[in-house]
Every structure is written in C-alpha cells, then in structure tokens.
Amino acid sequence: MTTARPANGTAGTVGVAAGDLAGTPAAPDGRLLRAIVEACGEGVVVCDAGGVVVMVNAAAAGLMPGLAPGRPLTSGAAGALFRPDHPEGDSRRVDHGRRRLLVRRESFGVAHRAWYLRDVTAESARTGALLAERHRTRFLMEAGRRLSASLNTRRCARVTVELAAASLADTAMVVLPPGRRQAGWVRATGGRPLQEGTVGTAATASVPGLAEALAGFPPVPSRWLDPAQVPGWLLPEGFGPAGHLLVTPLPGNGVPAGALVLARREGGSSFDEEGETLVRVFASRAGAAISAAALYQEQSATNAILTADLMPPELPAPAGMELAGSLRAAQQAALIGGDFYDVYLPEPGGPGEPLVVLGDVCGKGARAAVLAGQVRHCLRALLLVERRIERLVPLLNRALRACPSPNPYVTLVLGALRAGRDGHARVDLVVAGHPAPLILRRDGGVSEVGARGPLLGALPQAPVTPVSVDLAPGEVCLLYSDGITEAFGGPGGREMYGARRLKDALATCAGMPVAAVVERLEQISTDWLGGAVQDDRALLAVQARP
C-alpha cells in the first residue's frame, strides 16, 4: 500500500525521499531508521563485530542503564544477558535482577548484531500464577477424588499423607484424634514405605502447635513454629533436621479429625502464604473425609451392636420336640425390621415349660432393633415372676405403654411347650396382633390356630385367650411373621405372597424333619421375592419329635 500512502503523514516530518512522492519506494534514511528504532517498544541494542555498542534505543536504556554507545556490550551487570553463544534468531528468557527478559539476537551482515530485549516480568508472573493455580486445582481435585473413595478412617489418613508427601512437604504425618492414652499416626515420606504407629497423648504436646491443632484451633503460620523443637518421633529415621514445620488441624464435622503435620528438610523452601492456604484447603477436605469415615465406622459398629439384639438364639431341643427357625433380616441396615424370635428355657430343675416367642416390632432400622431387644429382655425379666402366657402378654402391654419411645408397638405369638403322652406335644398359644400360627398335620392338612388378640403397646387393655394345640409325632406348629405373607414378588413382581400360598406350601412339607420344613418354606419365599427389596422374614417351627 506504499503507493497510496499520503505524503503528509507522520513519517513525512522526519524527511522522506523525494521519490516517494512520485510513488516509487525508497529506502528510509538514517534519521528515519533511528526514529523507528527509538519508537519501538522492545529494547534494541546494536553492536559491531567487536562487541562494542553502536546504538541503544530508549527502551533498552531503560532496562539496562549501563548500556551506552562506545562501551563493550558485555561490560557491567548486563554482561550475562548477551552471551556470545546465543543462537541467532532464538529467544531466551533470562532473569535480570527482579526482571525477567526475553532476549533475542539477530545478525545483520558481518558487521552488526542486534539484541532485542522484551520485559516479560508481568507476563511471566501471570503465567506462573496460572500454572501454579492449575497445579493446585489439579492437586485438590486428585485429593478429593482419592479421599472420597474410602469410608475407613485409617485409609483416609493414609491417602492424606501420601498426597501431602507427594506435593506439599518432604514428610507428612496425620495424627488422629488422641484417645485417653494414645494417638494413632500415619506418616508418608517421599520414596519410603508408609509408616503407622501410636504415640502417647502427652507426647503430642511436645510438637510445636500440635496440641492446639488437635484441639481444633486455627493453624499458626509456619514461621512461628520452631522446627528445632520437633521431637524425634515425629520425623522418620535418617530424615535429618527439619527446616520448616507446618501444623494444620483437620476440621471434621464439628469436632477435629486430627492434625496434619508437614515438615520440609533444612535448606528446602519454606511454607509461603499461598502454600499454607493450599495446605489449609487440603486439610479441610482431608478432615471432612476422615471424620465422615469415622462417623460411618461408628455408625456401622453401633448398627452391629443393635442388630445383635435381633440375632436369633441357638435353638434347644426341649423334651420330645424339635425346633427350627429362620430369620432373614432385610438386606439394607436402614431397612432392618424388627422381626425376632427367642426361646426361654426354665431354670434347670425349676418349674415351668420352655416358651417360644416370635414377634415383629413396628418400624425399621436402629429404632426397631432397640425395641425388639427391649421386648426380648422385658419378657426374660417378666418370666422371673410370671410364666403363664395369658398373663405375660398384658404385662408386656403395660410395660410397652410405659415405654417413652414413639410407636412402641409389637405383635407377637407366645407359646408354652409341653411334652405329652405317646410322643405327642402340646403347645399353648397366645396371639397378640400377629398372624395366627399354622398347624401341619401328618396327613398334610393345614389349619390356622383360632386365636387372636390385640397388638401390644397401643391400647390400655390387651386381653388374650390361650389356645391349646396337640401335635402328634411329626406334626408341626409354624410361627411366622408378615414378612413371609406380605412379600411382594411372584411372576408379576407386585403380588403379595399371602397366607393361602403359605398354607399350600406348608401342606407339601408333611412328614419332613422340621429343619427341612423351615428351609423349604424359606426357599419358596426367597424364590417368590426374586431378589426384590425385602422386609424381614421370620419362621419358627415346633415339631413333636417324629
């Protein structure tokens, strides 16, 4: 576009060859070239073949005040910038004082070399900050991913120190919340196997800042902690003296989940403000993971204790009878219902008959487990003073009515077992709000015991009338929970199993040993469910010994 350029432009003020007016390109003269170089934002230094500066523009002089025409290029502090081995055309980043410069060398003929200097300090800082931020984000994402993968406190602590030792310090230790006597710790050190151990609770006070961190106080800056005071147990063997120490609390859900202790070797870089902030963010993630794991473990342990109260007892074989039972708890802990059965034997040589109970408490989960446990223990205590089943049930009703927990409702069947003559067995039964037991006769006939009574815990009175059942050898009295009859499944998936099917299934069990009867019914019920969500299912069968 040179041909169209107007003659009175800014370039004209420094003189333009006359030929330009005629539209013919002409080389700019020395003054023009000089002005162009001066106006350049990049620093330009031109020197001759001998390395003596012949020209320095304003930008270059601003960056290197020592540069001046007539002086050797490599004299003074700037010498390191202009290395004779700098490849032509190549740009290199060179730190000069507090600045970072981009240096490029060009040759013009054999006589002149030019050095171009660009100040990239701010640009580099921005790029550096961006890269550091990216690195931090990646680290925290990786931390989040790995920490969320476990619900075990030890495993979470291990992941925490592994991540910290890989990115934040030379050695990293998690000290878990101390117990009355000792505190557990996990330590990772670059290139060494993970170490675990315990330390006396009192000894934690010897680490600067650790007692405060374990108590959940905010972290103090690393520079306030004297690494020389670090006790020997904190660092791995052969680590050498610690140069920098950082102790950060691991915040949990309202309670501290321990503390993260980081150490860097003497001579290593200290923890700067950004580094400490990153450690705090990391510690809050690790703390959340460890405390969630701790809560989960605590809850699992509590659930295990609670559901132990639902565990059926080993069944004895009272004189002349065989017992068999099956209790299938719902698969999910939160869905555990309150089905239970139990057998109470009289004291050896004491009066009374063996009692069996099968019941179902209202609700699910831990509350149901507690209530079922209460009912079983309550019955055990009441049996010390009352063994008549028709009296036991109203007593239990009163006890439940006085129970402060919400919905303390229970349905159950209580039976007293007595050996009769000629191998017969007699079962006295009371039914309280529960499906009535079924009787399997030798000929395959199945009938329902004609007894009923109110569910317990809901109404002021709970009158029940006992019903007596005589079992000939081989005949079975089956107690079951509604989890059996109300199991949804079948071909369509949403059909209730129902009492009719249970009776039909029981009829096919005539002549079988009682353990086989229970196993068969349980199997049929499981098949009916076909893997569907299930309630608790309880079966307890009494057979006159065949």
Binding site: C362, Y409, H434, R452, G493
Partner: protein, 108 residues
C-alpha cells in the same frame, strides 16, 4: 425391583362438620409420618369428626398401622371422633389380625 405406589392424601369436607381424609398408595415406613403430621394439623384446627377412606391403600405395614393408631389416639385425646368409612378386604383382614377391628369404628 418392587415398585412403590406413591402415597397420596386428600382432605375433603363435603358434609358440614365432617372432614373426609382419602388415603391412597402405600402407607408404610417411608410415608407413615406424613399421615401423622397431617392428622396433627387437622385436629389442632377445628376438626371434630374425621372420616377415613382407606379403600385406595394398596399396602400398609406396621409403621402404617402405627400411624393409624396415632391418628386414633390423637382424635381421642381431643374428644374428636375417627371413623373409617371405606377399606379393602386386605385391610379388614389386617385389622382383624391386630384386633384393631375392636377399636376402630369400621363400616359393616
């Protein structure tokens, strides 16, 4: 897997002085508290006669039975009356087994 029928409640007041509560779906462990909360609200208002239509209930578990007992007890505590005006044969059987048929006012 077992599909659950959503539990629904509907309050109608057709005859002056009588509130009809229509329940449908599954009244179980997951939904029983809805009924208890609803009943609390009704009785703390000026409901003196509560009628329950249970004919739309597909399933009631022990928690559901507990919720019905709680509604009954809440009514009694406030000198209000609870009457069940419609139910299924499955529920009638359940009330018979739990002997609640001798407590609840059921249709003939």
């Amino acid at each position: 897997m077992l599909e659950k029928t959503p539990f629904r409640t509907e309050v109608r007041s057709t005859v002056p002085g009588i509130t009809l509560l229509v329940l449908s779906g599954d009244l179980d462990y997951d939904t029983a508290s809805e009924l208890s909360t609803l009943a609390e609200g009704l009785f703390s208002g000026d409901v003196r006669h509560l009628e329950l239509d249970l004919s739309g209930l597909d399933f009631v578990d022990s928690s559901g039975v507990a919720a019905l007992i709680n509604v009954y007890n809440a009514a009694r505590d406030r000198d209000a009356a609870m009457r069940i005006v419609a139910l299924t044969s499955y529920l009638r059987h359940m009330f018979r087994v739990t002997a609640l048929d001798q407590v609840f006012d059921l249709p003939a």
